[in-house]
C-alpha cells in the first residue's frame, strides 16, 4: 500500500518505521527542514519537505494514488484539513487523523474523517481498566456498526448477585456474550445463569444504552 503520513514528529517517525517494516510504501510530509534531514539520514528518502495541508504539496507527491493518508501533527486543525484535502481533492479512500482534544472526536466524525485516534482517550481508557472500582470498562469499539464491547464487574454489593440473567432488565440492543468467573472456564450466559459476586461479564452494547446496561447488571 502507498501510505502518506503528515507530520514527522515522534508519532509520525515511529509509525513510518513500523509501516516500512511491514513492507508498505511510506512517505512523510514534514514542514521543518531539520526534522526532514534527520528522518532522511536514518530511514532513507522517505521524507518530503512541505505543508501537508496544501493541495500543491499533496499533488506533487502523488496523493491521487495513495491508499491511505494519516495525519499525525500536533495540531487538530491541521490534521483535519490534511485529511479533508486528501479526501475531497484526491479521493484518498481512507483518512486517519490524530486528535489532541478528545472533544474534537465527534466533530471530526461529522466532518467526514474515517478514523480518529485520540491519545488522551486511549490513555484514559487504559488507566480506567487499572482502577479496580470502576464497574464498566470499554474493551473495544466497533465504529462502523456503532457498537462497543464492554466489561462489567459484579461487585459484592450489587443487588443483582444471586439473580438469574432473565430477571435483569437488559436494555434493547445489548447482548451478554461471556461470563468470566474465578477458577472456572468462561461461561456463555444463558437466561438461567445466576450471577455471583466478582463475576465479570463481557457484553456487546451501544454507547447510548451503556449506562442502562450497567444499571441492569449491577443494580447500582
Amino acid at each position: 500500500m502507498y501510505i502518506i503520513i503528515i507530520g514527522g514528529g515522534r508519532v509520525g517517525y515511529y509509525l513510518t518505521k513500523a509501516l516500512l517494516d511491514e513492507g508498505h510504501e511510506v512517505l512523510i510530509v514534514e514542514k521543518n527542514a531539520t526534522v526532514c534531514e534527520v528522518i532522511t539520514e536514518q530511514m532513507g528518502s522517505v521524507c518530503f519537505r512541505g505543508d501537508g495541508c496544501e493541495a500543491a504539496t499533496l499533488a506533487e507527491i502523488g496523493t491521487g494514488r495513495a491508499d491511505m493518508l494519516i495525519a499525525v501533527t500536533g495540531d487538530d486543525e491541521d490534521n483535519l484539513v490534511a485529511c479533508q484535502v486528501a479526501k475531497h481533492k484526491f479521493n484518498v479512500p481512507r483518512t486517519i487523523a490524530r486528535i489532541r482534544n478528545p472533544q474534537n472526536e465527534p466533530i471530526f466524525k461529522k466532518l467526514g474523517i474515517d478514523v480518529t485516534v485520540s491519545a488522551t482517550n486511549i490513555i484514559l481508557e487504559h488507566i480506567e481498566e487499572e482502577v479496580p472500582t470502576h464497574p464498566l470498562i470499554h474493551l473495544l469499539t466497533i465504529r462502523d456498526k456503532g457498537l462497543e464491547i464492554v466489561e462489567v464487574k459484579i461487585s459484592p454489593d450489587s443487588t443483582t448477585v444471586g439473580k438469574a440473567v432473565k430477571e435483569l432488565p437488559l436494555p434493547e440492543g445489548s447482548t451478554l456474550s461471556l461470563l468470566l468467573r474465578k477458577r472456572q472456564k468462561p461461561i456463555i450466559p444463558r437466561a438461567s445463569t445466576i450471577l455471583q459476586a466478582e463475576d465479570r461479564i463481557i457484553a456487546v452494547t451501544t454507547p447510548e444504552s451503556e449506562a442502562a446496561l450497567r444499571t441492569a447488571l449491577t443494580g447500582i
Binding site: 495541508c53 496544501e54 493541495a55 500543491a56 495540531d75 487538530d76 486543525e77 491541521d78 483535519l80 484539513v81 479533508q84 484535502v85 475531497h88 481533492k89 482534544n101 472533544q103 474534537n104 466533530i107 461529522k110 466532518l111
Partner: protein, 132 residues
C-alpha cells in the same frame, strides 16, 4: 443581528467595530487578550478570551444564538475548522471564513463554505489598478 467573530486582528477588530457601531450585537474571540487593544474604546460588544476551535469557547461567545459567524485568525486551518464547527455542529445560518491559500479556498468553496482568499482578491485588485 448577532455576530461572532473569531480572531481580533486588524480585520477582525475593524469588522467588529463597524458592526457594533451599526447596532449589531458582536462577540469577538481571541486567544490573546492583548489583541483586544485593537477594539475602539466605545465598543459595546463582548471580547472573550478563548480558542474558536473549542466548542465550549464558542458556546460562551453565544454561537448557539448567532446569526453570523466569521473566522478571521491567521491560521487557515483554524479558520476552516472553526467555520465547519459553526456550520455543521451549531447550524449558524451564515458562516464566512478567510483562507489565505487560494487552493484551499477553492476546495472549501466547492465543499460549501463561504470562503474568501485575501491573496486572490488583493492580487486581482492590484492587477486591475496597475493595468487600468
Amino acid at each position: 443581528m448577532k455576530v461572532v467573530i473569531m480572531g481580533c486582528g486588524r480585520v477582525g477588530a475593524h469588522l467588529a467595530a463597524l458592526l457594533d457601531s451599526e447596532g449589531h450585537s458582536v462577540a469577538v474571540l481571541d486567544t490573546d487578550a492583548y489583541s483586544f487593544r485593537r477594539l475602539p474604546p466605545d465598543f459595546n460588544g463582548t471580547a472573550l478570551l478563548g480558542n474558536g476551535i473549542d466548542e465550549e469557547a464558542l458556546k460562551r461567545a453565544g454561537i448557539e444564538e448567532a446569526d453570523i459567524f466569521v473566522a478571521l485568525t491567521q491560521g487557515d486551518n483554524r479558520n476552516v475548522m472553526a467555520a465547519q464547527i459553526a456550520k455543521h455542529i451549531f447550524n449558524v445560518p451564515r458562516v464566512v471564513c478567510r483562507i489565505y491559500d487560494p487552493l484551499r479556498q477553492e476546495l472549501y468553496s466547492t465543499l460549501g463554505l463561504e470562503a474568501f482568499s485575501p491573496t486572490t482578491i488583493f492580487a486581482q485588485m492590484l492587477k486591475g489598478k496597475l493595468l487600468s
